[in-house]
Symmetry: C2
Subunit: 217 residues, 2 copies
DNA sequence: TAGATAAAATACAATAATGTTTGTTTTAAT
DNA sequence: ATTAAAACAAACATTATTGTATTTTATCTA
């Protein structure tokens, strides 16, 4: 009994309102944090009455749960935009410059609006079953899409998938760590040194892995 | 007009109650998250009336702010216990085994009770000025103590401080990233691969740096 | 032992947050 | 033009949360 959804005036209006609410929620997570976010504040931010909001979402949980999907999507868009741009500038080769660009793009990603907001939900998910329940599959989907993206945009690593994956993980974890730590300290960590090491590590691993392949032939 | 604090019955009782409250707060951060923690829940967890609690702390903020100091201290204890133990088993050398032990100790640290609780406050500090105000100096103090600890317990890196620092940062950021990501996914990342790479990287950097020094002589 | 003080519990008041109900406006369909 | 339904707004009731004031209990000291 799947309802045919026509493109009516209402459905369009409803969609824009829903998005306005989710954007408002995002803004609340960013500005006042998940812990201080309330339906009232979200409604204010969306310039909407609470009643109107609750017409589109049953309760608070519904908004939060919808936020997970919304932010996952937005985050993916942001990631792809940033990394496609970096990749375009860098060309397809595995060089110091291209790796630096990749790292800088990742850096931007981990400091972007949507990721900051998502971080709040990640933390909330640890102790909130209903968030975790939607976040885990969403994160899996996200990982899958990222993996696809890397596969198709970094063809130089073809044949050394294992190494590529490990380097990818290292880069993600390290930058997530930097981004997170920067929340608790004022001092700028010596990012450049760290980035150089990350570049160097990738170059080494890549050289080793491709040498192994040539050797095998 | 500094009041001389004698070791009276009251002062002892007061101290144990304060600690009970801070432990209860910690437990709340861990079990229900910072966002859902209330004074009522903390009092329940501490098996204390709210009135009694508010006798020791002026308001919620006071408890949270005190938590930062308490957790910083506890976290440092935990860190030192774990890494001294690892270092003792590993001996003073820079080997694959010793680095693996160090990483495993760090892994445990980043998954420990107190660190998990502290993570909640790190996130809260981003949007709460009063928390950030005490957290930033606390974190600086923590970093300083860690640096001292590493200096005195990893003498093999003497003369290559720059590399040691960079590796330390890499290790901290990467493991913090892993710990944080594990909140949003069920899937165990391929930790072993990553750890191997971290070990390899440190060994390479160490070898390079010490070779440079010998060469210079 | 009586009075003073610290610690803890209880009771009270004010506010904030949520969810629900009811009412109003706007668009779509007949 | 009238009716139905969607979108939104406003008002209400309930509960949760905080902070404060008051009371009780326990310990110390003169």
């Amino acid at each position: 009994m799947k309802q045919e959804k026509r493109e009516t005036w209402q459905s369009r209006k409803s969609d824009t309102t829903r998005i306005a609410v989710l954007e408002a929620a995002t803004q609340c997570y960013i500005k006042i944090g998940y812990a201080n976010t309330t339906v009232t504040k979200i409604a204010e931010e969306a310039q909407l009455s609470r009643g109107a909001m609750m017409y589109h979402f049953d309760d608070v949980q519904a908004i939060i749960v919808a936020s997970v999907g919304y932010l996952t999507e937005k985050r993916l868009e942001e990631y792809e935009a940033l990394l496609v741009k970096a990749e375009r500038q860098a060309g397809g080769r595995v060089t110091e410059e291209s790796l630096e660009m990749t790292i800088n793009a990742l850096w931007k990603f981990f400091h972007s609006r949507y990721h900051i907001a998502y971080q709040e939900l990640i933390v909330a998910a640890r102790t909130d079953e209903s968030i975790a329940k939607v976040m885990h599959p969403a994160q899996q989907e996200f990982d899958k899409r990222i993996a696809e993206h890397i596969r198709s945009h970094f063809p130089a690593w073809q044949g050394v998938e294992e190494v590529r994956e490990t380097i990818t993980e290292l880069y993600f974890y390290a930058l997530q760590g930097v981004s997170f730590f920067s929340l608790s300290t004022n001092k700028q960590p010596k990012i450049k040194r760290l980035f150089s090491l990350l570049v160097k590590t990738a170059l080494n691993e890549y050289a080793d892995a491709t040498a192994d392949i040539k050797e095998a032939n």
